[in-house]
């Protein structure tokens, strides 16, 4: 008999996106809930009766009842799917804490909350879940260590559920908090160890995987927005693990050089070619180079005003895009007269790196250009 499970983690319900506007934030939060529904649908689609959520269901401990209940209500709708929830480092099980509240109020029947480190048997399905819930944000003992000694009925498949960091890449240091030994399946006879904490999907070994977050939540996450379909045939053999797409939004980072208006045009083409539905894409754009006042203005108009409207979100990091006012720029402002004098003064100030106001001067010069052009347009 093949046991089919959906492995997911790091839903982090209640997460607040600090840098985006209110509207976008609402959409991003809603997406995290929608992805739960998608998980339920995928479970049904693939005939998986259980969804293991490997910690960090919630982003923080003290949440409003609405935020607490929103995912529960999504899960309730899938009556034939059993959802396994477990406290992670973002939502540890503290006395009288979040989980205490949830349990006190009651959770849907199809939701299992693993609050203690002891095997829980699902005899009819032929497997037991060995959870490693976290009591604290950081713990210096491997929460899966107990699994080595925990006993289950013979013939029952043991599935580990944990939240933390494994060695093997990144740091070798076993003193990292919430350390989990990636060889736990061997020592504890686990058929599969479902891990959470890393938001990108990652295979550690045949039996140990990070599912990644179900909906990407940052630009630096790679392989987010997925879950895993885990098919276990026996305790010894490696399970068949298949990534499933669950996320809605795509988070893309661009790093571009801009030195002319042609470069701006090329960037526009690149950005527009990012995907079919740009509204599902969030972009972080790093630009660097040196541009004339005119090209800078062109960049502002084309990228910041125009193209950004196509995306779900576009953030421009232009601290390395330096102004390089050309003689033509200045002549366009005026060939003579005091305005030109002011422009020359600002240009000189902007180019003097020892001047504490040189950045402001550069912006002021750009502004002078813009204002001048506005007046020109108006008078024409």
């Amino acid at each position: 008999m093949t046991i089919k499970l959906i492995h997911t983690s790091d839903w982090q319900i209640g997460k607040v996106y600090r840098f985006v506007d209110d509207g976008t934030m609402g959409l991003l939060q809603e997406a995290r809930l929608s992805a739960i529904t998608r998980l339920g649908e995928l479970a049904l689609e693939h005939g998986a009766g259980h969804v293991l959520v490997a910690g960090d269901v919630y982003d923080m401990e003290a949440l409003s009842p609405r935020s607490q209940n929103q995912p529960l209500e999504r899960m309730r709708k899938f009556e034939n799917v059993t959802w396994h929830l477990m406290p992670g480092n973002h939502d540890p099980h503290r006395p009288h804490g979040l989980w205490h509240q949830l349990m006190r109020r009651g959770v849907p029947d199809n939701v299992i909350v693993h609050l203690s480190s002891e095997p829980r048997l699902f005899a009819s399905d032929g497997f037991a879940v060995l959870p490693a819930p976290l009591q604290y944000r950081r713990t210096l003992q491997d929460p899966t260590a107990y699994m080595d000694e925990a006993e289950t009925t013979d013939g029952i498949i043991r599935i580990g559920l944990a939240h933390g960091t494994v060695t093997g890449f990144g740091s070798d240091d076993k003193d990292v908090p919430n350390y989990i030994n990636p060889n736990r399946p061997q020592s504890a006879g686990l058929a599969y160890l479902a891990l959470g904490d890393w938001h990108g999907q990652k295979r550690i070994n045949d039996k140990v995987w990070y599912s990644g977050t179900h909906e990407t939540d940052a630009f630096d996450v790679e392989g987010g927005g997925q879950a895993l379909l885990v098919e276990v045939r026996s305790a010894d053999s490696a399970p068949v693990v298949t990534p499933l797409k669950t996320g809605y939004y795509q988070w893309i980072t661009y790093r571009e050089q801009i030195n002319s208006c042609e470069d701006v045009d090329a960037l526009v083409a690149t950005l527009r070619g990012s995907g079919d539905d740009l509204s599902q894409i969030l972009v972080r754009l790093f630009v660097e180079g040196a541009v004339s006042l005119q090209d800078r203005q062109y960049f502002e108009e084309e990228i910041i005003d125009q193209v950004s409207a196509a995306f779900g979100y576009l953030r421009v990091e232009d601290t390395r895009l330096f102004p390089s006012p050309s003689e033509e720029d200045l002549d366009r402002i005026d060939r003579g007269g005091f305005v030109r004098t002011a422009a020359d003064v600002l240009k000189q100030k902007a180019e003097d790196m020892s001047d504490p106001e040189h950045e402001i001067a550069a912006l002021a010069l750009q502004r002078l250009y813009v204002e001048h052009m506005k007046l020109q347009t108006r008078s024409q």
């Binding site: 209640g14 600090r18 009288h96 002011a342 600002l346 106001e357 402001i360």
Partner: protein
């Protein structure tokens, strides 16, 4: 440009051809009274150059003479770089315009006027004639009467003319209209963010407040979150403690200990009461022993007392005898000494009496001497008074006084006068003959007096010469009888006066008077002498009699003294003195003896007093001792009768044994305490009871606390604090970002604006520097240290005084406004001329508001400018403008026929 001449005909008031010739290069002055037509000359200048010859506009027709309505003609010769031009125009009727060029060409009509415009740079006038706008620079340089003060009216054409002149000097520095709009646009944007003083406003200010609010809200949330964490920890701790307290182990242990303590406490309490009773018994026995011992001791003491007292009484008796003997001796000694003292005292009284006697004798002797002295003085005084009285009497007997002697002297004088008159009238008969013969001559029967050699005959006189006969002389004297009568009256008066005071003759009267005065003097001397001898004193009046009374009194006293003293005669004063001294010496001696006797008595008397006192006390002591001893002896006998000495000793021995037995019993009982005390056990019981109670209380408190904390947590958890904090932090961050953008925007706009403004200011300063540079030296002459402020439109804004204070132009006085406006015009003209542009300054009736000093300076300035620029000054103030210098021009009739009217 230099205007050389102007000629008119049928032009306004000029109905005959008139001209102004020989206009010089520099300063020219046309002086003439009102109505002479100076302003008309300026009109002619303007018409010749700026008005269209063909125009029928009102200003042109107004050039006609009011009465004859002939066609006005004007001709103007002026010199520019390429030579002298002449423009001649006729207006209204058969109008024409002729321009005679230096190259010999003659241009006519519009061509002439177009050429003129190109040459001098002004615009074609409109249908209503030339206007300030069309005049260009000339409107500035040619000032009509009454227009020289107030702000300069610069038409655009003039301004562009000046601007091009300025720019050709300093280059293009202003930014044009767009340049002016730019700082305004930036300022507008900046002013939406900050106030003029740089304080945030509007959205920016609201955002600052919002960030503040959000931050405090975030802090509020964070503090509630930390409250939640603390409450959770407190709950955990309370539950742990409660669990520990609820186990009951400690309670059981404490209860057992408590029961043991209570039973032991009961036992110990009984033991203590037995010990207490035994201890009381010990005390009782101790007291018995004490009483027995005390009785025995008292008996012994009594016996000892009797022995001691017996000894003491004997000693007192001995002492008493001793003192009595001493007293007897002392009494004898004191009696002897007292007798000596009495004797000495009597001697002193005797001696004092002798001294008193001697002193009184001396007083009597002295008084006697005084009486004798006074007696002598009395006698002298008495003598003197007698002399005084005699002299006064003598004086009183003489009748001649100071008054009647004057009468006598007067009468004698009158007699003398009468005699002399008679004598002068008498016939003098002189005799010249030897004396022996003369003596024989008789006059009226009487012989001549010896030595008489002449006779005055008043009446018939008979001179008898013996031997010869007699000569009868009958003098013939006028008024002889009257003279004789006068003489007789005078003689009678003298006689009467003499008789009145009893004198026989005048000489006798004088003698009497002298005698009287001498007597009066003698009387006064005698009075003074008497007063000298018997002067007035405190005891008696001045004079002999009072002195005599005083002496009599003294004598009475002396007599009484003598009778008191009982002596017949007085010794001499010396003897009396000696007797007194001797008596005093004896008295002194007697006193010495008395003092010695008294001193000798002092010691023994004191000793006797002391011995008397001692005797009293020794006697008392002896009597008292005797009495007490009797009492003691009686007491002892009584006591021995009641209890014997042996019985007392037996009682003491019995009591001592009973006490020792009881003390041993107590010590045995105390040994049963085993080192525990009742307070100790009570403290333990109380401690254990409290511990049990406290644990009970604590449990119930903790239960309450847990419930409280739980409900507090439930209240807080509903708020979703972590979520709220995250969201609030996000809002804070977004708002802070926005705030930073605003701050940056303000910095950018401020920098931009300040840069533009300072560039603008600098540009303006540079732009206007050619005008200011030219005005400055002239200005210094009028207003030392001042600068003028001109805006880029060449409007005079005001004057910056030496102290930096700026006054706006409109607030300056009319005179100052005019002077400055003229200076600026001159500066403009100078600048234009320097750049090869045509410029001539015409000033009609200017500087009328200037004071003398400024006027003088303005003349200097006009002459200075005149070295470069042609200036024509028109004025009616001949006297005022006398000192202006320059070339004086006179309007003259024009001879040529070329100005024919129509």
């Amino acid at each position: 440009m230099k205007i050389r001449s102007i000629a008119v005909n049928q032009f306004k008031k000029f109905t005959t051809p008139m001209c102004l010739d020989d206009i010089g290069d520099g300063l020219n002055v046309v002086v003439g009274p009102n109505e002479m037509g100076k302003s008309t000359l300026l009109d002619a200048l303007r018409a010749a150059l700026f008005e269209k010859y063909s125009s029928k506009a009102q200003p042109i027709t107004a050039l006609q003479n009011d009465r004859n309505q002939a066609a006005p003609v004007v001709e103007l010769a002026f010199e520019v770089d390429d030579g002298t031009y002449r423009i001649r125009k006729r207006f209204v009727k058969k109008p024409y315009a002729h321009l005679f060029c230096p190259d010999g060409r003659k241009l006519e009509g519009d061509e002439a006027e177009d050429t003129l415009r190109d040459l001098l740079g002004f615009d074609e006038p409109g249908k209503s004639g030339a206007k300030p706008e069309t005049l260009g620079m000339w409107n500035v340089l040619w000032v009509q009467q009454g227009q020289s003060f107030g702000a300069l009216d610069l038409p655009d054409s003039a301004r562009s003319n000046l601007h091009s002149a300025l720019e050709s000097e300093v280059g293009e520095v202003l930014g044009g209209r767009r340049g002016r709009a730019l700082p305004d646009a930036v300022d507008k944007q900046l002013s939406e963010l900050v106030t003029s003083t740089g304080r945030p406003r509007g959205d920016y200010k609201e955002l600052i407040d919002e960030v503040e609010t959000l931050r405090s809200e975030l802090e509020g949330l964070q503090s509630r979150r930390s409250d939640l964490s603390k409450t959770l920890e407190a709950l955990e701790a309370a539950q742990e403690t409660l669990a520990r307290l609820s186990s009951g182990e400690q309670d059981k242990k404490d209860k057992e200990e408590l029961d043991a303590a209570r039973s032991r406490h009961g036992e110990l309490a009984k033991l203590e009461s037995r010990i207490e009773a035994a201890t009381t018994d010990v005390e009782l026995k101790k007291r018995n022993l004490e009483q027995a011992e005390q009785a025995l001791a008292e008996r012994l003491t009594l016996k000892e007392q009797i022995t001691t007292d017996t000894e003491r009484v004997e000693a007192a008796k001995e002492k008493l005898d001793e003192v009595r003997e001493k007293d007897q001796e002392l009494r004898k000694q004191v009696d002897g000494l007292r007798k000596d003292a009495k004797k000495a005292e009597d001697a002193v009284a005797e001696a004092d009496k002798a001294v008193s006697m001697a002193r009184r004798v001396l007083t009597a002797v002295q008084r006697d001497g005084r009486i004798r002295e006074l007696q002598e003085r009395y006698e002298k005084a008495h003598e003197a008074e007698k002399k005084q009285r005699a002299a006064q009497k003598g004086a009183a007997a003489i009748l001649v006084t100071d008054e009647n002697i004057e009468e006598i002297r007067d009468a004698a004088k009158k007699l003398e006068i009468a005699r002399s008159r008679l004598s002068a009238a008498a016939t003098l008969v002189a005799f010249d003959m030897p004396s022996d013969r003369l003596s024989t001559i008789e006059i009226d029967g009487a012989a001549l007096a010896a030595g008489q050699v002449s006779v005055e005959a008043v009446e018939g006189t008979t001179i008898t010469i013996p031997d010869y006969g007699s000569i009868s002389v009958q003098p013939a004297i006028k008024d002889r009888d009257k003279l004789i009568a006068q003489q007789r009256d005078a003689n009678d008066a003298l006689k009467a006066a003499l008789e009145e005071c009893g004198a026989k003759s005048v000489d006798a009267a004088e003698e009497q008077l002298a005698k009287r005065e001498k007597l009066l003097r003698d009387a006064e001397l005698a009075r003074q002498e008497a007063e000298l001898h018997a002067p007035e004193t405190d005891d008696f009046e001045a004079g002999a009699e009072p002195l005599a009374d005083h002496i009599a009194g003294l004598r009475t006293i002396l007599e009484r003294e003598l009778s008191d003293l009982g002596i017949e005669s007085l010794p001499s004063e010396k003897e009396a003195d000696q007797a007194l001294a001797t008596a005093q010496e004896s008295a002194q001696e007697a006193r010495g003896t008395q003092a010695t006797a008294r001193a000798a008595l002092g010691g023994p008397e004191e000793e006797m007093g002391r011995v008397q006192t001692e005797l009293g006390s020794v006697k008392t002591r002896y009597d008292d001792g005797n009495e007490r001893l009797d009492k003691l002896k009686k007491g002892l006998t009584e006591a021995e009768k009641q209890v014997s000495d042996d019985d007392l000793e037996a009682c003491v021995t019995t009591s001592r044994k009973a006490l020792a037995d009881q003390e041993k019993h107590v010590s045995e009982l105390e040994g049963q305490r085993e080192g525990e005390t009742l307070p100790q056990l009570e403290a333990r019981i109380s401690r254990l009871e409290t511990a049990l109670q406290e644990r009970r209380d604590k449990r119930s408190d903790l239960k309450e606390k847990v419930v409280g904390l739980q409900s507090h947590i439930e209240a807080l958890e509903g708020a979703g604090l972590d979520e709220a904090i995250q969201q609030k932090a996000r809002e804070v961050e977004l708002a802070a970002d926005q705030l930073q953008r605003y701050e940056r925007e303000v910095s950018v706009l401020s920098l931009l604006l300040s840069t533009i403004r300072s560039a603008e200011t600098e540009a303006k300063e540079r732009y206007l520097s050619p005008v200011l540079k030219r005005v400055r030296p002239y200005l210094q002459l009028l207003f030392p240290g001042a600068e003028i402020a001109i805006d880029e439109n060449l409007h005079i804004m005001g004057v910056v005084r030496e102290n930096g204070y700026e006054e706006s132009f409109e607030h300056l006085s009319m005179g100052t406004q005019e002077q400055i406006a003229v200076l600026v015009r001159l500066a403009f003209a100078e600048m234009l001329v320097e750049q090869g542009q045509p410029a001539t300054v015409v000033l009609d009736d200017v500087l009328v508001f200037s004071d003398d000093r400024r006027m003088g300076r303005m003349f200097d300035i006009l002459n200075m400018v005149g070295q470069q620029v042609q200036i024509i000054v028109l004025t009616c103030r001949e006297q005022l403008f006398e000192g202006i210098g320059g070339r004086q021009l006179v309007l003259q009739p024009h001879s040529g026929a070329d100005l024919e009217s129509a």
